[in-house]
């Protein structure tokens, strides 16, 4: 055994030991398995602060879980809701008020606002006073005093004759669509049942796999307890964590299935071909080490491993096994005289060229601005490199003797290569039959390409199980409103500036609500006016209401109150009372429902969020944000579609560049003509696959285009191997044939995935690789023995 081979063996073993240590250390630290599908997507906004505000709020919303407990009679529903809340709280995984309160009562509200009254007015009253329409206020106040319309007053009439304070408080009333506060619970009575809303919050991340499991278990347990106690009760569940958990468990099932099938096929294949345990062990060993290396790299670079990366990673099995098969099949070329050094000399360079081509393909993916694709690329690059390293460094020492039998596959390969000896046959490519087939295929591809449609929908990223979607619809129907995932972010250098800008936004939104373009919105400034607004309110009160000729004395006089009492009432309102400060507002339990909207100090200023309900058209909201400074409309899903389309076009350009670079690199070794022949299989396969998609009416997306880069890498593999293996075509054919088969199978399994973009990858690569193999076969140079001298 040459010394260089032994040295490489020892060095590689040392490197593997380091890898094992790193993996072990990561395991003890806890591998983070992530299942946030939208986290695979790029940052959409060019403005870093806006992006940060958006992700903080999105993360907060993602923790929310809404549960509706329904029963035929209200008392059971309330008991059920209280019980559910208690069990969930006890599980330690949720934060939920027990029993769920529909917001603090009016006493807390009065206590919060008491010292600040002159600065607080409802929008309606402010507008009347701004326009000088005091008669409206007077008529309303008198009607309230003299008829039943004035019966709903959180502040008694004696303290608030004109109803200004009561109006402000009533404007703060908590409600969620049809849900009304009733005996401390948010209740909806519809369809013959009473539904109680139990709002809960997940304490840990909804996307970390381990925390998800605990959440789902706690929910299932709580539901079981509820059903035991109240057999007729119904439960509707809604929340991001449910979808993420479903996606994660589906991914886990797919990883297991695809990995198992691919491994099984390899075991059978290698077993039948080589009929010995050692090649099998070596194969599985290098695959396993490659996978471990991929996981370690992702955890180290990204800090987590996404489940989708692992689903995609199962395809690595079919690719990495190529290198193993090339090396293990080599002894069959000349069993008697084969030595490991000989093998290395023969297949070493082609293996490295293959690895290089594949790595180039994946490296191009590393440039893609999609974090999810980058992680998949890194996993594959590291995995393939380590697997290849194992083949080149470990196999020569561990491979052992050449097999003594002649595999069936090899016999088949030999027969296909040898023609009748002596007869000079024209190379394949000039045979009229094959040429005709290729012409037909080209026409078909061209026609299909002309029909090809593209789709850039966010739905590419995930599809939720129908039961979960049905629950979302049910929740919407019961509550009578549609929560929207879009929202406004209002930013500013100070809290005061943020509130002022939000008030400007609210003026625009109020117009939209009046016109029916928007169902409603939730904003902090409604409960916490900016200081500027509070000053305005004071001025208006002073001018129109409390002045000597103002509304209050006028009304009191008309009611027969004496001048002394009027003076007392005017003086009682202290216009110099302190302003309501955000700090005070936050400290009150009354601010609880709106607190999640306030983002506070995000590092680059302050921010708050305005959420919207029942949106008719996003374009109108976008336009509303355009004209306002510091306001930004976060429509992540809509922006994603634009991004996907943009990247699709960039990816197409990227592919052209990759072909160019590889062409140059190959020309250095094979000459221009040879390089073109090597590139024809992947190019032809790409066009044929796209054409087939077009012909079948299946729309293509960014992911179909990105995978063409992979196809380039792998397609080049086969052509290179068949070219380099001129001296021993049957073994080269055997190895390449087995490779193509395993790779096609691996990617073919991805077509079974429930995630649409993974399916798209499988749909492009599986037929693509098979076609690339066939084309490479057709275009391979003839056996060196046949060449004319």
């Amino acid at each position: 055994m040459p010394a260089s081979i032994l040295l490489r063996f020892r060095l590689w073993c040392a490197a593997l030991a380091v890898l094992a240590l790193a993996f072990g250390w990561q395991l003890t630290q806890g591998l983070t398995l992530d299942s946030d599908i939208l986290g695979l997507l790029p940052a959409v906004e060019h403005d870093a602060a806006a992006e940060q505000a958006q992700s903080i709020f999105a993360e907060r919303s993602a923790r929310r879980v809404s549960l509706l407990v329904g029963a035929v009679d209200a008392e059971s529903a309330r008991t059920g809701a209280a019980l559910l809340a208690e069990v969930l709280h006890a599980s330690g995984v949720f934060r939920v008020t027990v029993p769920p309160h529909a917001g603090a009562g009016w006493t807390e509200a009065a206590r919060l606002y008491e010292p600040h009254w002159p600065g607080l007015l409802s929008d309606r009253h402010r507008r009347w006073l701004e326009r000088g329409e005091t008669h409206q206020l007077r008529d309303e106040a008198l009607r309230a005093l003299y008829s039943p319309s004035g019966l709903a007053r959180p502040i008694p009439a004696a303290d608030d004759l004109l109803g200004l304070r009561s109006a402000f408080l009533l404007g703060q009333a908590a409600s969620l669509g049809r849900a009304q506060p009733d005996r401390g619970f948010l209740t909806v009575v519809t369809g013959g049942r009473t539904w109680i809303l139990v709002p809960a919050e997940v304490l840990r991340s909804p996307f970390a796999y381990r925390d998800q499991r605990r959440v789902m278990e706690a929910l299932a347990h709580a539901e079981a307890v509820l059903r035991d106690a109240l057999p007729g009760a119904e439960l509707i569940r809604s929340g991001v964590v449910l979808h993420a958990a479903a996606a994660a468990s589906r991914a886990a099932a797919e990883i297991t299935l695809f990995g198992a099938v691919a491994s099984l096929v390899i075991v059978l294949l290698v077993g039948f071909t080589f009929r010995s345990v050692r090649p099998l062990a070596l194969c599985l060993g290098s695959l396993g080490l490659g996978a471990v290396a991929g996981v370690v790299a992702c955890q180290w670079v990204f800090g987590n491993v996404h489940v989708i990366t692992l689903v995609f990673g199962t395809s690595l099995i079919g690719m990495a096994v190529d290198y193993s098969l090339h090396f293990l099949a080599d002894p069959l070329r000349d069993p008697a005289r084969w030595t490991p050094a000989d093998g290395l000399r023969h297949v070493g360079r082609p293996i490295l060229i293959c690895l290089g081509a594949s790595l180039l393909g994946y490296a191009a993916l590393l440039l893609a601005p999609l974090p999810g694709v980058r992680q998949m690329a890194l996993f594959s690059i590291v995995g393939l490199t380590v697997a290849c390293g194992c083949v080149l460094c470990l196999y020569p020492v561990l491979a052992g003797r050449a097999p003594t039998h002649d595999p069936l596959a090899l016999r088949l390969a030999r027969r296909s290569v040898a023609g009748r000896p002596g007869r000079r046959r024209p190379p394949h490519r000039f045979r009229p039959g094959v040429f005709a087939v290729l012409l037909a295929a080209s026409v078909f591809a061209a026609w299909g390409l002309s029909r090809l449609q593209f789709v850039d929908d966010i739905r590419l990223m995930q599809s939720s199980p129908p039961e979960l979607l049905a629950q979302e619809v049910a929740l919407r129907e019961v509550l009578g409103m549609r929560f929207d995932s879009r929202f406004f972010v209002v930013r500013g250098d100070s809290e005061e500036l943020v509130l002022q800008r939000e008030e400007a936004l609210r003026d625009t939104l109020d117009v939209l609500v009046r016109d029916g373009q928007l169902g409603g919105y939730l904003a902090v400034s409604r409960a916490l006016p900016s200081q500027r607004r509070q000053e305005l309110h004071r001025r208006l009160l002073q001018q129109h209401v409390l002045a000597g000729d103002g509304l209050l004395p006028e009304v009191m006089r008309s009611l027969g109150v004496g001048e002394a009492a009027i003076e007392r009432a005017r003086a009682a309102t202290d216009v110099q009372a302190p302003f309501l400060h955000p700090r005070t507002w936050f400290a009150s339990p009354f601010s609880k429902p709106l607190r999640s909207l306030w983002l506070g100090d995000i590092g680059d200023g302050y921010a708050t969020v305005v959420t919207v309900v029942d949106v008719q058209a996003a374009a109108v909201l976008m336009a509303a944000a355009e004209g306002l400074e510091g306001v930004f409309f976060a429509d992540r899903l809509g922006s994603i579609s634009t991004i996907l389309r943009e990247y699709r076009r960039t990816a197409a350009a990227l592919i052209m560049v990759a072909y160019g670079v590889i062409l140059v690199l190959l020309a250095l070794r094979y000459g221009a003509g040879g390089a073109l022949l090597v590139l024809l299989p992947p190019a032809g396969a790409s066009l044929l696959v796209l054409g087939a998609l077009g012909a079948l009416g299946i729309p293509a997306s960014l992911f179909n285009v990105l995978t063409l880069l992979l196809l380039l890498g792998m397609g080049v593999d086969y052509a290179v191997f068949l070219r380099e293996g001129r001296r021993a075509q049957p073994t080269a054919l055997l190895a390449v044939g087995l490779s193509a088969f395993t790779t096609t199978l691996s990617f073919g399994l991805l077509i079974l995935s429930a995630t649409p973009f993974i399916r798209a990858i499988g749909l492009t690569l599986a037929p693509g690789i098979a076609l690339a193999f066939l084309l490479a076969l057709w275009l391979k140079p003839s056996d060196i023995k046949d060449r004319p001298a």
């Binding site: 209200a74 529909a102 009562g105 009016w106 006493t107 929008d123 309606r124 309303e140 008198l142 009607r143 005093l145 003299y146 008829s147 039943p148 319309s149 019966l151 709903a152 007053r153 959180p154 008694p156 009439a157 004696a158 303290d159 109006a167 408080l169 009533l170 404007g171 703060q172 009333a173 908590a174 409600s175 009304q180 506060p181 009733d182 005996r183 401390g184 609500v513 169902g519 409603g520 009611l559 027969g560 109150v561 004496g562 009492a565």
Partner: protein, 218 residues
Amino acid sequence: MRCVRALLAGTLLGMALPAGAADVFEHPADPVQLYRDLSASVAELRKWPRLEGRFTQRKHLDGFPAPLVSGGSFVFLRGGGVVWQTTDPFHAELTLSATGIREQGRSIVEEGSGAEQAMRLVSGIFLSVFDLDLEVLEERFALYAMPHADGWEQGWTIGLRPRDAAVAVIAESICLHGQRLVERIELRDTRGDRTEVLFHDVQGSPAEMTAEERARFE
């Protein structure tokens, strides 16, 4: 002479003091039992789909020398709502129904606001009181009841205490006094302010709701 004066005083006293309003809250009532107790006296009320009459509202506010008095007429249509027409001290017509309180077809407060919810609550309770719908009242109030000294047929007092904060916005306690139907509603709030609504000249009518009237209540 003395006995005439005593009799007069007694009658005046009897009229001035409401029948046990102060201690009705010591007699919690069960709605089913109360329904039975009231059936004899309110049988007639329950027959009529329409009630028409006049009302007087008196609001006693702390610090005000005299109560605020308004008066007018009303029409109550079972299953629809109430049309409340104030004629004194000014003209105004309100429509109270399950959807809220409206004036001239439009809501008196901003649609979708918290105030609208409160209006709907007021309407709903008002209608249940008119109709003596004990089931609905029992959901939002704890019920108390006391008959007149001579029995339920001679009159009764019903006490209502709100069950939760949302309803307590309307009043801390409500008392209903009546005999064949509700004759007087008394609302007290936390500060001690009092609102009284008195009904008089109430007539029942078999005339059903017209389509036009139904549309007003939608």
